[in-house]
Symmetry: C2
Subunit: 376 residues, 2 copies
Amino acid sequence: MKGEVKLGILGGGQLGRMLIQAGLDFNIYTLVLDPDENAPCKDVCNEFFVGSFRDFDTVYEFGKNCDILTIEIEHVNADALEKLEQEGVKVYPDAKTVRTIQDKGLQKEFYKQHAIPTADFRILKDVEELKANTEFLPAFQKLRREGYDGRGVTRLQSEADLGKGFTEPSVLEKLVDFEKEISVIVARNASGQVTAFPVVELSFHPEHNLVDSLFAPANVPYKLQRLAIEIATRVIESFNMVGILAVEMFLTKDGQILVNEVAPRPHNSGHHTIKANYTSQYEQHLRAILDLPLGSTDIQSAAVMLNLLGEPGYDGEAKYEGLQEALAVPGVYIHLYGKKYTRAARKMGHITVLGADLQEAQQRAESIKNVIKVIA
Amino acid sequence: MKGEVKLGILGGGQLGRMLIQAGLDFNIYTLVLDPDENAPCKDVCNEFFVGSFRDFDTVYEFGKNCDILTIEIEHVNADALEKLEQEGVKVYPDAKTVRTIQDKGLQKEFYKQHAIPTADFRILKDVEELKANTEFLPAFQKLRREGYDGRGVTRLQSEADLGKGFTEPSVLEKLVDFEKEISVIVARNASGQVTAFPVVELSFHPEHNLVDSLFAPANVPYKLQRLAIEIATRVIESFNMVGILAVEMFLTKDGQILVNEVAPRPHNSGHHTIKANYTSQYEQHLRAILDLPLGSTDIQSAAVMLNLLGEPGYDGEAKYEGLQEALAVPGVYIHLYGKKYTRAARKMGHITVLGADLQEAQQRAESIKNVIKVIA
């Protein structure tokens, strides 16, 4: 390995920040592009560029100085990625994968083509097509593009809900009667080696539709865990992509596993791996894109991960309450994202709670839930 | 906690770098002072100052802008620390502790005063006093000040060796017939809470007199591990210091434990804690100086830590050989320090090898020893 690889990252949020933090161990020189001049990556990368990762010229100009280009958000200009690939920059994940994933319609078609189990769906051009598919309800309607963290998703129970529907191109996805939501993060390096992290189990915040907490190992029969890992592996191999891919899945009440959606980058459902697993998702992504052998994904400790969201009703310079009390509990670790300003439900950090077994981790997590508050 | 604490670090080497890396999770704003404009901290801290941490004015001017001032090397200007303390800066470790530890003569006297077991010694002013103590040989002669990583230490077997002796003020330390060298890292926060990491066992490079590798848990009877932790705890409580303290000890063939020397900062013998323990030594130091509750020091995995030294015969821009082969072994993690130039025996990084038990970690470590080479 050269003393220094120039790694460009599109997006300067917390995922990029934790990637750079892990990258310090590999002597990586990092360049970051983000429109927000106060993005969490700003003070931790080597060079920070203010600009839009959605703009062709901006991404192209940024990327052509990099040895490797990666992303921490998928809503980037895929045409620029393609041109950079053609000019010899290593773009991981590649333009084709990013283009497929950033359009939920293409993503669903891709699963169908590759025999990857997923909820039944309809592709809708406009509101007329929505009206023509009322027999398909109840369903989730998802915008084809730009959906993120619960934005661009609406639940349509029956014909009476049609007024809440989106008028833009969308996917109508059959409501799945699921028992659990789970996630498997897989990684593939340029040499084709693939690894999977153990299954994690997610729980969602009822209001914000954000991941509220998760735990690992999942409380799921071994056979279904094996199946989830097989499916996630099939997805990354079908994309033929390099890097990590978070595969969110439904475990249905009748024991099926259906792929919900995927993210070709570090993911909220892998934050706990920093503390709980041999290799973190961030190091695994770096190993993959540097074409190093992938690390062991073994669990060192059971873990619960809690997102630390801005307390509703506070808007302004962030302050943290309850750290003393929470950190006094053994196994509790805080990860703040360096965001100066908080607002309701903004992701300000996360807390990982470790335990010798899941029960211990969950008891500890329960005791500190709602103890740490981000106010202004 | 405030959104941002301004933490000053005297010294910009790898220990500071890993401290800053851990500090990202706490939203700490870091300032670093080091004479080398290419120091490993340079690109990772918020503000970097080129200057001598041995100079009164430089340290004072640097420190007065900080909320908290800490060190990653003990050879700093203690008078400036004292003045900063008087002016309300939180200096951890405090000036008095640093002054005692940076002088091996005062350090040994301190152990004697506080009934801390240590090898018998003589304080020598000059070469005349050395000659007057030949009956004390065999012994190690150590310079009172500025010894570091094996510099300033010489072994005097008998009167015939006197010519090799130092002429400056020194400590003559009775040769200890030890079976093992061990280390315990203890931490104390401003509220007085104390924790200890499990005992690690050290092995030294025969030529360079640097720590070559270490492993944890130590292969030492439980009773002696308890004793080592008791002694280390007594040392930090005697200093009444805040921060972490590495206590290196000899385990003698007749079952005694003697304190060899201490370092009031993150230490080479705690690098493995980043990967192997619930809390790393770096996070523990931060928790201590921020007066947060100290973290659990429990072991998650057994570990072997290997220092990655510059290969003899190479001087220049560093290149890394053997990464592919080494990282293919499960449980192997590399930590490079971001040093552009290598030279013989320069500390360029370290490797942590994890295993489900010590035997597994040691077998893996054996298989990759000498595989990674730092050349130019």
